[in-house]
């Protein structure tokens, strides 16, 4: 075999290997999802969704968990959205190109890399203990808000950056002030992309478990929370709790709860992708 034939053979071999590697991840994902659906669908029914937690696996449901997850979603949005968008706006429109801006930018990049469990320690000390919120929904939502803040800021900045200079110049030429320009022109134009980023950040928050465990969210809450200062549980914590029990019946419960959690996560991600595609088609500067 000549050298060039050998090289071509190697090339082909790598191509096959590449296809193999690319699909192995997807195959594993597929196996896992099918396994979960088979395992969990036996338990997943209306009773499961509307029952309170119980020490007996066959009676236990996820009512408190998904209600808690909804609460957390709403509260986190209310806290993180204005904060993140405002910070992103400041960095992109006001604080650019100074040493201070550089510092903020490096700091945010660093925060994005801090493990989520460290945010849990922060929340435990600041919100649960110093601010005396206890292991409440509010403490949990504040902790998760800080956790997803870097993601929202970064996507907000990208969205604002994509608004062309001419839009701003046009607004200024008509005599608008800086804030009028930002509020009436830049933000509406960037809104779609900002929304996409926020939904992605929220889908991340929905799956977070560790920081909420650290601030003391409980696995066993026998009532659905009715105010932000109530104790709570969320789906991931309920799943974790059931997973760490030896009885097979609880594992089945965990699988059923995972189906619900994955549906929520995939719906949020799907919504973000849909919004992104629509945005890209709609806007042609």
């Amino acid at each position: 075999m000549t050298n060039s034939e050998l090289n071509r053979l190697k090339d082909k071999a790598f191509q096959v290997f590449g296809i193999f590697c690319t699909f192995i991840g997807l195959v594993v994902l597929g196996i896992f999802l099918i396994d979960i659906i088979i395992e969990g669908s036996r338990r997943l029914d209306w009773d499961f969704l509307t029952s309170l937690p119980s020490r007996r696996a066959s009676k236990a449901g996820i009512m408190t968990a998904w209600v808690g997850t909804l609460w957390i979603l709403v509260l986190t949005t209310l806290i993180a959205l204005p904060l993140g968008v405002a910070a992103g706006l400041y960095l992109e429109e006001y604080g650019k190109k100074s040493r201070w801006g550089d510092f903020l930018e490096i700091n945010i990049a660093n925060l994005a890399g801090v493990p989520s469990i460290i945010y849990g320690l922060l929340g435990l000390e600041i919100f649960v203990r110093q601010m005396r919120l206890g292991s409440s929904l509010l403490a949990g939502a504040l902790t998760l808000s800080l956790l997803i803040l870097p993601i929202i800021i970064v996507t907000t900045r990208e969205a604002i950056k994509a608004v062309p200079r001419s839009i701003r110049d046009g607004s200024y030429a008509l005599g608008a002030s800086k804030w009028q320009t930002v509020w009436n022109q830049v933000l509406p134009a960037a809104f779609g992309s900002i929304l996409t980023g926020i939904i992605l950040a929220l889908s991340r928050a929905v799956g977070e478990t560790a920081p909420l465990i650290v601030i003391g969210a409980l696995a066993y809450v026998p009532f659905t929370p009715s105010s932000p200062l109530d104790e709570f549980t969320v789906l991931p914590i309920q799943i974790f709790n059931w997973t760490s029990r030896p009885q097979a019946a609880f594992l089945e419960n965990a699988a059923a709860a995972i189906i619900v959690l994955l549906v929520i996560t995939f719906l949020l991600n799907g919504l973000a992708v849909y919004l992104r595609n629509r945005q890209q088609r709609k806007i042609k500067w």
């Binding site: 590449g18 002030s177 003391g216 799943i239 997973t243």
Partner: protein, 291 residues
């Protein structure tokens, strides 16, 4: 008008400053609580003692077993994710049709959106029993399954970031290689990968940092037995798992046991902070610039 504009700018500034306060808060919380810890336990003991038993009657405070557990799962994860992720990046860049890339890339990114507690369940109920058929000595909780599943989770991180790095290598380099009669494989490994090496290294460092801080997969599947070992077949405990373990118990606030989670936390923070800054530094210094 001017006044209200100034107020709004002030509010926006305040929102941005909150990010700095978060950093200060993290460092302050970790430091202030672990200073209390290090008053009672010497730093030397913390770093050199080979056992970690703060919850037992006979208390030993050596962080090494937790660090060993963390590094072990991280090593397994990277050993899975690096070859797979890099091969996928090269394959998608040099071999795959554009259509295929458009379909496969978002599908792979689904891997990254799955909550990690779900991956933990997967490691415990699917991967471990599967591996036990081939590895008789494999314990129910072990570093191997947790590491493998963590590696699967990290694949899209390495493949996406590496693919970005490879595709930002200018066409001219690739065309020059093909012009010399190179195959796609030779072009990939002889030209593209070296040219994109800084970006690839950055992706790997970020992946390591992610694996070091990952919590729920190891908390579910790797066990809770701190031990100083390199054997991935037995239960171990990572820094993050320990924090979870203590958080779920009834450790009284302000006790030495309570403070251990902050000492463990600051160790974790130092690791990931160093890794993140290293990647940042490499990106700034060594990113190849072509124009």
């Amino acid at each position: 008008m001017r006044v209200s504009e100034k107020i709004i700018e002030g509010l926006l500034w305040l929102s941005a400053v909150i990010t700095v306060l978060v950093t200060i808060g993290i460092i302050w919380v970790l430091l202030s609580e672990s200073i209390g810890f290090f008053r009672e336990v010497s730093l030397v003991e913390f770093l050199t003692e080979k056992e970690w038993t703060p919850l037992f009657a006979n208390k030993k405070f050596g962080i090494m077993p937790l660090v060993a557990g963390t590094l072990l799962t991280t090593f397994v994860a990277i050993a899975v994710a690096l070859p797979l992720g890099l091969t996928i990046a090269i394959y998608l860049n040099e071999y795959a049709h554009a259509r295929m890339r458009q379909v496969v890339k978002p599908l792979l990114e689904v891997l990254a959106t799955i909550p990690t507690v779900v991956y933990g369940f997967f490691a415990l109920t699917v991967v471990t029993p599967f591996l036990q058929q081939f590895i008789p000595g494999l314990a129910g909780f072990n570093a191997l399954s947790a590491g493998i599943v963590m590696g699967i989770m990290i694949i899209p991180m390495i493949s996406s970031l590496s693919e970005d790095a490879i595709s930002s290598v200018p066409r001219s380099l690739r065309e020059a290689a093909y012009g010399m009669g190179s195959t796609r494989l030779q072009t990939s490994f002889g030209v593209m990968v070296p040219a994109a090496s800084s970006g690839i290294v950055v992706s790997v460092i970020l992946a390591i940092s992610r694996a070091v801080g990952e919590t729920m997969i190891v908390a579910v599947a790797a066990g809770q037995q701190p031990r100083l070992t390199l054997n991935p077949l037995v239960p171990i405990e990572t820094i993050t798992t320990y924090i979870v373990q203590v958080s779920m118990g009834d450790v009284p606030q302000g006790s030495l046991e309570y403070k251990t989670i902050f000492a463990a936390g600051i160790t974790l923070f130092v690791f990931t902070f160093a890794l993140n800054n290293l990647s940042f530094w490499i990106k700034r210094k060594y990113q190849e610039k072509y124009d």
